[in-house]
Point group: C2
Chain length 311, copies 2
């Protein structure tokens, strides 16, 4: 009854990536579009549908299980992209409905972090797990919570915003209008803010030589042994570990999988995050929760994650 292929679509503000994927996570065909090159949503959806048509011709339409879409502010229940700030069109976009009409395929849509969680469960670090969390540490912080083998969507489709849990009460201003959200500390953006604060009281770090501080340059300095860069990661990991410990007390996951730019930093992030999480865990949960790196291949992770929605 299950068909051999699925199509994954990752919608970003600048680029839209598509892939024809088999059940083992092999990408057979790829395509990409410039999201900003279309005047109307209708033109954009038509262009996406044309790429889907090429995939159909390659695999045979009858061999495609369906289309999975990961999109910023994507809502699983409605199939809509809701007021995503980075999209060229600001309105509510009923993307799943529109694409289904154009392609006559089943279309399932959710946000990027949920799609990544499905990808980790189907092809990545969470294979065989029924209770885990994926935390995407990119420009912001996204999360996909899986319990009983199912994504937690919540009653309205918007569950899983650990990036907006208050990590530091009355802390840094967040563009969401509140203070102290996790993503102001533990995203690629947040660690740069921390670095600037720490550099103001320091004379010796190699980071003073950077023209433009990034999560990557801070990670490189830390991995090369720069003391201030290591302190920056220690601070970041403390905030992350404390917040993860709180999240564990709600869903008690087997593992927390860190994904995205900041997660590439490796052990300078993972080791102190694990340490601070353990220090802050209720005794019931101690020494039970693994913190793991993503096992989805970087460049194709989003497309793979999206495709996993279709199965």
């Amino acid at each position: 009854m299950n068909k051999p292929f699925a199509i994954g679509i990752d919608i970003g503000g600048t680029n839209t990536a598509l892939g024809l994927v088999d059940r083992r996570g092999q990408i057979l065909l790829k395509a990409s579009l410039n999201t900003t090159a279309y005047d109307t949503v209708g033109d954009y959806v038509k262009a996406v549908a044309e790429e889907v048509e090429k995939f159909k011709q390659h695999s045979g339409a009858d061999n495609i299980q369906g289309v999975g879409v990961g999109a910023p502010n994507g809502n699983y229940y409605t199939g809509e992209i809701v007021n995503a700030v980075n999209m060229p069109w600001k309105e509510v976009i009923p993307f799943a409905t529109l694409l289904k009409k154009e392609t006559e395929l089943q279309v399932t849509l959710t946000n990027d972090a949920n799609a990544t969680a499905m990808g980790e469960m189907m092809y990545g670090a969470a294979r065989g797990m029924k209770d885990f969390v994926v935390v995407t540490l990119g420009t912001g912080v996204g999360t996909g919570f899986v319990a009983n083998g199912q994504l937690i969507y919540g009653h309205d489709g918007f569950a899983g915003e650990l990036g907006h849990m208050i990590a530091v009460r009355d802390g840094r201003d967040c563009p969401c209008g509140r203070k102290g959200c996790l993503e102001r500390y533990c995203s690629a953006t947040g660690i740069v803010i921390t670095a600037k604060e720490f550099l103001a009281d320091d004379d010796t770090s190699v980071l003073h030589k950077e023209d433009k501080l990034t999560a990557k340059s801070i990670a490189e300095a830390a991995n090369a042994g720069d003391e201030l860069a290591l302190k920056i990661f220690e601070f970041t990991a403390k905030v992350l570990g404390q917040t993860l410990a709180d999240a564990v007390s709600i869903t008690s996951p087997q593992a927390i999988i860190l994904f995205g730019g900041l997660a590439q930093a490796g052990k300078v992030l993972f080791e102190p995050t694990k340490k601070y999480m353990e220090e802050n865990l209720l005794y019931l949960y101690k020494d039970k929760v693994n913190i793991l790196p993503s096992m989805l291949p970087g460049a194709d992770a989003a497309v793979l994650g999206a495709s996993a929605l279709a199965w």
Copy 2:
């Protein structure tokens, strides 16, 4: 295929209550035992099984779907009661296995808060809901999270300990060994600690006349308009509302149901809790999450909740 009756058993440190319940939540027969009156776990289980036998004779063994058990530190996966501090026997008690052997009925066991959540979904305030949270505000704070119509047990059966989320970083000492846990502020125990702190700086409250402060006496004073008692509830509700706002960002529930002694306080608790939760919610969740009182009948709530596990 489904049978008309279930048996609910609520195990407490002093009392064990049993009920024969129909699908609408009517209790047809009740029984109770003194949990502390037995020398061994085996004797205790035999006594419980004798009461179950009487229920069987009343309804016919073939008409009973199964037995649901709510117990402190009850683990759904193993059917064990694990190191519960209030039980007469400190070891791990494989209660579900033992009772199944004695009664030849299917036995499902979980902790009290999860059982209450099932009860609210089957017979109470959460009828028809698939995504909600039950928060039991008693001596401690317990929680049952339901997502996609299923209880979140976590990989080890110990999910749902909102009472041990860190509500106040470096706050009050908790017997769990950490600081600032929600239940040190928002349980019947926690509000008494708050009252003692607030009374130290006050001359006028009627609470000075109380021989023994309790959640109930503070609630009565607040409902009678005592200013200090109202401030105590305002503070309690602020801590609770902030923490609930964080929990919403994980599971996005349709409603949060408050149950237990402290929840009896009524609007002096509910109104400020709702206010502080809304103030602290991410914009995505504002004006969507109801805070509701339990609709399980007080004295029988635990037995009803336990029976709901059997369906």
